[in-house]
Symmetry: C2
Subunit: 238 residues, 2 copies
């Protein structure tokens, strides 16, 4: 937060596409890693900026210090700090924290929760079994390669409304019953693993486009309604 | 705000494209109109939902109760209530209010301001004279017709980063020095007029793609830096 909406310098991670990283990403991850390694020695830690420490440990923390660095750089408050916990590789707990709006979305063992201003309440997905009533969100068209964008675009034509922008925030709004579908491509494990328990324990479904385990990233489809998820997959897999 | 993130019903305004309106749009505009007509009898009022009342009056209030209804419906906090004042048709004062985040962007006579949590500070655009360093924001690709999207896309290829999503919030981030360019099409007067004084008094430039008066809407290009505005116009007018 000390770096949000300041005149911070933006580094380019390298590669052909602009892939920004800031001191805010690095400082946040360093702070989180320090706390976790002190309080939970022996646990693994996998983070976006500083790599893997004992990733095969029974308990492993997955950290994306700022999911949505582009939004952060622009001053939009839709980015979030993601922290997940896996047990033997399976997603166990997840959290998304948005410090500017003061919002936290997180999973307990059997439910998901939303906390703001000291108040905590259970969140649930909403029913929406058919595509023609669905609101679809996705971070950016640039996520998709040409073939994947064609499938995504076909899905777009079947839904009521499509909206770009949002990163992790969209998955949380889905868990909260505000959005029906989130479809993306090219995600990394730390982009999605911490969100999986939040979505699932709010009653939603999240998989790869092929219906597989989403926690390793890749092409992701999340839905609040199981029937809608199947309908979306049918188009995405065509 | 009483309707934000509730299970509100969404009406379709009619026409081929999904054009949502909610009870929140209507109630907010009715409340604003009632206050203005009581405190400023004889002034004109032009609003998105309830049309024109004495639009040729010397002083005329321009109201968009929820700019970014799609974002509102999804639960994203990037929508805003826009209120502008024209004198003999020229933009005089403007305000964008985001009640969920508690943010207000507004123009005084010679400066623009940002208020949150009781603190008010002056805001200024940032220098960014060249396209290759610029961050470009736009609400959605659906705003553009095919020919306009080609020009927009050409501009996209010249900038450092493009981002969809945001509505009025993007223009305010530009006035605050976080974004360098906002380019859109198909705007109505009430979508842009209340933002014009905020942008201009923060040091920015906002015109149509042809360089004309932006306050009637249409194809809009806003820039924080005058040199950047000229460079963007050159591509958009090709």
């Amino acid at each position: 937060m000390p770096h949000f909406r300041t005149n911070l310098s933006v580094d380019h991670k390298g590669g052909g596409e602009f892939d920004p990283v800031t001191v805010a990403d690095r400082d946040a991850e360093a702070a989180i890693r320090e706390i976790l390694s002190n309080t939970h020695p022996g646990h693994g830690i996998v983070g976006e900026e500083f790599g893997e420490t004992e990733p095969d440990a029974e308990f492993c923390w997955i950290i994306d210090p700022i999911d949505g660095t582009r939004g952060f750089i622009m001053g939009q408050p839709l980015w979030g700090t993601l922290i997940g916990l896996t047990v033997d590789g399976a997603p166990m707990l997840g959290m998304m924290n948005q410090p500017y709006t003061g919002e936290r979305f997180w999973s307990g063992e059997t439910e998901s929760f939303f906390t703001r201003g000291g108040d905590t309440r259970t969140i649930r997905v909403r029913p929406c079994p058919t595509l023609d009533k669905a609101i679809l969100a996705s971070t950016a068209p640039e996520l998709f390669d040409t073939a994947d964008f064609e499938r995504f675009d076909a899905l777009t034509r079947a839904v009521r409304m499509r909206r770009f922008g949002g990163d992790c925030y969209n998955y949380c709004l889905l868990a909260m019953g505000q959005i029906d579908l989130v479809v993306e491509s090219g995600l990394k494990s730390f982009d999605i693993m911490p969100l999986v328990p939040i979505i699932e324990r709010a009653g939603g479904v999240v998989t790869t486009w092929e219906g597989g385990d989403p926690s390793r990233g890749g092409r992701i489809v999340a839905a609040g309604d199981r029937t809608l998820h199947a309908a979306a997959m049918k188009i995405l897999r065509t």
